[in-house]
Every structure is written in structure tokens, then in C-alpha cells.
């Protein structure tokens, strides 16, 4: 019998081209490209006279920079943003790469359209010049973010120089209570392991709670692996995965489908395979959570109070003091008493159709509180169209939400969707760093259901008590 291997070990072995003293060259099956981290890479190729080795394995889409208002199809007003988006279009054309333009219904956040179009498949290696590439691990594909130099490396060679990471298992047993979602699970894990807890590791998520999550829930879960320090998160593929993948534009068909399915059914960690680190949570202990500070690890159940920095140790004491000052909060303050100004629903973490359905469910018969700015930015053009078909868009507009076009939007505020200094936002995105959503802006991360509850009440609120 051969060595017992984890899912990560298997995908790694399958893609290993060469290994020299632990420095390995691995093959990359899919390369997703967006406008912000690619122009310097394409420029590098041009300067050295290199070509894109596998244009058919590469796909490009503008998402970070583009406006989400209806007038965007007539041109981007911000000149710098326009230059970046134009550069991507031109590079895609020049190097013969599939490109979804701003006016294409398939355009959207790169991590949403990858799975949506079937570019992302189980067992693949997937990279993108974006840390939230971890999202694609939901399919049992080894997916991680890379820098621009590595983008250029993958474009030129279809490979990446890597050191193998360690194996980490995060197991979530039991089941989730009402109002508790994949976002609460992923944030609670980060709260437990800390923002560097997964550094140097690839996380495999297992357990009954993970099995029960939908594919979209698993994408939310894996998306934030990087917020726990892990470059990649994985969920072993199962029937839900195959069902999600089947029939998508880029998915295998006919004989290839059968062949692929046979291959994918081998993608699991062998019983007894070795994990360097194991963390366990019980789903029953997970409550709807919100963040109070400026790191995703600063997370607590909604019925808690703002912590006292002196409850922490070492460097975290000063960091927590700084966070509270930035966030304008005091120790002992009830999280539920914190009023908000803005609600942002969207991003590669929570911009999919199930997220919008969740919001619609909470908003049924309810309105956005007067004076609250509430915005919904679907993750892709297709998500937008689907929500419009289902009547979700009409319902939420009626309830007082702004209904936008697809993009990264206020998750990182590179486009005009930004917070002003001191503005406090209930956000379904993934980072609450200082200035992330706009200089001086204050971000509280939470699930779409919790963000909807905040929209209704104008403060952080337990959706279970609505």
C-alpha cells in the first residue's frame, strides 16, 4: 500500500513537474486575471518578448476598478481606472486570452465568474493575482493568490515555483443553528486560529457542518482561508460539487465528463493521513458574529460586548487599543448598541445568488431604516440577472436598497463606492482593515442575513431576534 495522502498531497503530487531540495515546479491548470495586478506582468512579457504559454487556460475580467452604476458602459470616468481596464482589454486581445468585457453579462468578480463559467473544476491548480483565490478551494481545487511577478511567471511558463505547504485540518462537527451561516463559520474559525493561524499551511475543511453547506456556502468558507493566514482552503468534492459543475460553459462534456468524474471521486484525504495541525469546532457553538476591530480575527458573537484591550496578550494589546480608537468604540459597549450608517452587500465572499436570497428572506415585509445608505452589488452580471428574474431585485429596491452592477465595489473601494471618514458600515465583505472601504471608514464584517438585520434596525443586530 502506498503512503497515506491528504487531499492537498494528492493535488500537489498530480501537478508536480520537478523538485529540487524542496523547491518545486508545479503546473497551473487555470489562471484568472484581473486589471489591477496584471498590467506590470503583461508589460514584462512584452519587454522580454515572451508569449502567454497557454492562453486557453487563462481568463481575464475587469472587476476591482469598475464603477457599479449604470453609466459605466458608456465609459469609466476615473482616468486611472479607465487606463487599467483598457490595458486589460488590450492585453487580453494581444495575447489571445478569453475576456469578459464590462458590457458582457458574464462579467463579474473574478472569483465568482470562475466557478460560474466552469473554469474552476475539482482537482485543478488555480491561481490569480488576488488573495481571495482561496475561494475556488470549495471545489477541491488547489487555489491560491499570487503576486504580479508570479502572474508573469504563470503567463510565461504555466507553472509556479513553490515550496510545499503543511497540512492543516479544520473540522466543524454538529450542525448550525437558525440564522447561522457559512460566513459565521469562517469568521469564527479565524477568531479561533487568529489571522496568522494558518500561515504556511493549506487548510482542509471537514465535518458534518461543511458537508451540509451548499457549494456557495463552501465558497464563502474557503474565500476567507487567507484571512486566517492560509494561502489556500480546500473542501473535498462530493455530489453537490459535481451537480454544481455539470453543464457549465467550460465544464467537461460527454465522454470527458465521465472520465473527469472518475478522477474527481479520488479527491479526498485518505483515512489516517497526516495533518500537521488540527483544529475542531462544534457547529452548535457558532453564533451569528460581527467584527469589532480592524483585523478579521477581531470577531465576537453578536450578543457580546466590545473587549477591553487588556484582556489580550503581547502585541495584541496595543493593536486592540489602536483598533478601538480607529473604530470609535469603547470597552464594555454592547455590540448590539452600535449604530451604523451604511450597509454593503456583495463581494467575492458574499455576492452570489444564495446570499441575495438570504437578504431577501430577512427583508420580507421590512424596509431599510430611514437615513441608512444600503447597497447591493451582485457578484456577477449573471447573479444580477438571476436576482432580477426571481423578483429579489424588485423587492430589495422597494425596501430601499440601491441595486448595482457587478464588481468588487466597496469591498476595497477602488471604484467610486467608498466610505467617508467616520462612516460605519455593516459589510458582507472580507476585510475590516483600516481604510479598507475608504479612508477613515469603519467596517464591521458579518453575514448577508446579519447585514440585512442591520439595514432594518440601523445598528448591529441579532438577526434571530428580528
Amino acid at each position: 500500500m502506498g503512503k497515506l495522502r491528504t487531499l492537498y498531497d494528492k493535488i500537489w503530487d498530480e501537478h508536480l513537474i520537478s523538485d529540487q531540495d524542496g523547491t518545486s515546479l508545479i503546473y497551473i491548470d487555470r489562471h484568472l486575471v484581473h486589471e489591477v495586478t496584471s498590467p506590470q506582468a503583461f508589460e514584462g512579457l512584452r519587454l522580454s518578448g515572451r508569449r502567454v504559454r497557454c492562453p486557453e487556460k487563462t481568463v481575464a475580467v475587469p472587476d476591482h476598478n469598475i464603477p457599479t452604476t449604470g453609466d459605466r458602459e458608456t465609459g469609466i470616468k476615473n482616468l486611472e481606472s479607465k487606463v487599467q481596464v483598457d490595458a486589460l482589454r488590450e492585453n487580453a486581445k494581444y495575447f489571445d486570452i478569453t475576456y469578459y468585457d464590462v458590457d458582457d453579462v458574464r462579467q463579474g468578480i473574478v472569483h465568482i465568474i470562475g466557478p460560474e463559467q466552469g473554469w474552476t473544476l475539482p482537482g485543478m491548480t488555480v491561481v490569480c493575482g488576488d488573495s481571495h483565490t482561496a475561494t475556488h478551494g470549495a471545489f477541491g481545487s488547489l487555489a491560491h493568490g499570487i503576486g504580479t511577478s508570479e502572474v508573469e511567471h504563470v503567463l510565461a511558463t504555466q507553472t509556479l515555483i513553490q515550496k510545499k505547504a503543511k497540512n492543516m485540518k479544520v473540522s466543524v462537527s454538529g450542525s448550525l443553528g437558525d440564522g447561522v451561516t457559512a460566513k459565521d463559520v469562517t469568521l469564527s474559525i479565524i477568531g479561533k486560529i487568529g489571522t496568522a493561524g494558518g500561515t504556511g499551511h493549506v487548510i482542509e475543511y471537514t465535518g458534518d457542518v461543511i458537508d451540509e453547506l451548499s457549494m456557495e456556502g463552501r465558497m464563502t468558507l474557503c474565500n476567507m482561508a487567507i484571512e486566517g493566514g492560509a494561502r489556500a482552503g480546500l473542501v473535498a468534492p462530493d455530489q453537490k460539487t459535481y451537480d454544481y459543475v455539470e453543464g457549465r460553459a467550460m465544464s467537461p462534456k460527454g465522454e470527458n465528463w465521465e472520465k473527469a468524474l472518475k478522477d474527481w471521486k479520488l479527491l479526498f484525504s485518505d483515512n489516517g493521513s497526516h495533518f500537521d495541525k488540527v483544529i475542531s469546532l462544534d457547529g452548535h457553538d457558532i453564533a451569528p458574529v460581527v467584527t469589532w476591530g480592524t483585523s478579521p480575527e477581531d470577531v465576537l458573537p453578536i450578543d457580546s460586548v466590545v473587549p477591553d484591550p487588556h484582556e489580550f496578550n503581547g502585541g495584541k494589546i496595543e493593536a486592540a487599543k489602536r483598533s478601538l480608537k480607529y473604530m470609535g468604540l469603547s470597552p464594555g459597549q454592547r455590540l448590539q448598541d452600535i449604530p451604523i450608517d451604511t450597509v454593503f452587500i456583495g463581494s467575492c465572499t458574499n455576492g452570489r445568488i444564495e446570499d441575495l436570497r438570504e437578504v431577501a428572506k430577512v427583508m420580507k415585509g421590512r424596509k431599510v431604516k430611514d437615513g441608512i445608505r444600503a447597497m447591493i452589488v451582485p457578484g456577477s452580471g449573471l447573479v444580477k440577472v438571476q436576482a432580477e428574474k426571481e423578483g429579489i431585485a424588485a423587492q430589495l429596491k422597494e425596501a430601499g436598497f440601491e441595486w448595482r452592477f457587478a464588481g468588487c465595489s466597496m469591498c476595497l473601494a477602488m471604484n467610486p463606492d467608498q466610505l467617508t471618514a467616520g462612516e460605519r458600515c455593516a459589510a458582507t465583505s472580507n476585510r475590516n482593515f483600516e481604510g479598507r472601504q475608504g479612508r477613515g471608514g469603519r467596517t464591521h464584517l458579518m453575514s448577508p442575513a446579519m447585514a440585512a438585520a442591520a439595514a432594518v434596525t440601523g445598528r448591529l443586530f441579532d438577526v434571530r431576534n428580528l
Binding site: I17, N78, Q84, G129, S149, A165, T195, A196, P252, G435
Partner: protein, 201 residues
């Protein structure tokens, strides 16, 4: 890429933990299509007020530290996004070495692609180096990559570990892509194999 051998210079203390890439270079500066020129925006929101004036208390605005070539930082430096603009901004400012107890993986990798040496040392050594870095114009450290040593102002030495391949790439200023293209034959063979056993990829 420029070769890295030894570096002597002023070290700036940044003891805050979890310094993220949004702090190192905020998103409004990612709209460039170039690698250069980002130094003036390094740590922008910590370094400058909204009106563009300097925040006098921020370390890189203080006299001797304006010439810093080294940063001694709190745990988990460079967490967050994959933006290579973070090391580009550091390098453009003149920072060629960052010393901490730990780095986020993507940032750590990105440094090596740009001739920046990120050094991991135990907490006790980092804390001592932070104390050294507090000494203003006397906060001079000498980093010797070949020897894997940091020489402190008092002459004592802190040694560090580094992956031999990454070390060699920095010492020689090697271009990764050229190195990998030397393996063209193996890559082509892999692709052929994949075509037959995983034709859907």
C-alpha cells in the same frame, strides 16, 4: 532584479502587529500600471494626514528614519492582499530588509521577487532589534545574506535561517522565469501526459 549581498543602514521600528498590505500601500495607489514611483505613498494613511501634511509622530517622518533601509516589525507583517505594490512601495522608498517574527506567505514570496530580504527571527531577537531600532541615528544594522547574520550596533550578531534556493536567487539576482523556462522539456512532457489522462483540463 538587483543582487543582494550585504546592506548597512538605519532600521526603523514598527512594533505594531498584523501590519497589512492595505496599510503598506492603500488601494487608491494600485491604479498604476507601473512598478515604480510608489515610495511616496508607502504607509500613506499612517504617514500623512488627509490634507497631505505629514504625521510628525510616524516613524518614517522622523529625521534619521527618513533614510531607513530596514524595518523591524511586529508579528505577521504583510498580511492581507496579494498586491505586489506593497514590496514595490517599500523598495521605492529604499527599504531592502524587513525583520519580523513572521510574515504572511504571499507578501513573503513577493519580497524575494523584488530583491527585498524578509528575515524571520525569534521573538527575543526581534525585540532586541526593535530596541536597537529605537536608537535614532545610532539604529544602524548590517545585514549579511551570505553569512545569514545581522550585526547589531553593539557589535553582537543575530543569525537567521533562510531557504537556500531563495537565498541564491537573491544573491545572484536571478530571473525566475528564465530559470523555469530551462525546464521547458519537462513542462511540455507534463502537458502531453495531462492531455491523455486529464483531457478536460
Amino acid at each position: 532584479m538587483e543582487k543582494f549581498s550585504t546592506l548597512e543602514g538605519i532600521a526603523a521600528p514598527l512594533p505594531l502587529i498584523n501590519i497589512d498590505t492595505d496599510m503598506i500601500i492603500p488601494k487608491q495607489f494600485l491604479k498604476t500600471i507601473k512598478r515604480s514611483g510608489l515610495g511616496k505613498n508607502l504607509f500613506d494613511e499612517m504617514r500623512f494626514n488627509q490634507d497631505g501634511s505629514e504625521v510628525p509622530s510616524f516613524v518614517l517622518n522622523k529625521k534619521p528614519y527618513r533614510q531607513s533601509k530596514i524595518i523591524v516589525a511586529g508579528d505577521n507583517f504583510g498580511c492581507g492582499s496579494s498586491r505586489e505594490h506593497a514590496p514595490w512601495a517599500l523598495l521605492d522608498f529604499g527599504i531592502k530588509v524587513v525583520i519580523s517574527t513572521s510574515f504572511a506567505d504571499i507578501f513573503y514570496n513577493n519580497c524575494f521577487k523584488n530583491g527585498i530580504l524578509p528575515i524571520i527571527v525569534p521573538t527575543e531577537d526581534r525585540d532586541n532589534l526593535l530596541d536597537d531600532a529605537e536608537k535614532g541615528s545610532n539604529a544602524r544594522l548590517t545585514v549579511n545574506l551570505e553569512m545569514q547574520e545581522i550585526r547589531r550596533p553593539d557589535g553582537s550578531v543575530v543569525s537567521f535561517d533562510i531557504d537556500p534556493f531563495k537565498k541564491q536567487c537573491l544573491l545572484d539576482g536571478l530571473d525566475d522565469i528564465a530559470l523555469s523556462l530551462e525546464k521547458e522539456k519537462s513542462i511540455a512532457e507534463f502537458e502531453e501526459r495531462q492531455k491523455s489522462c486529464r483531457p478536460w483540463v
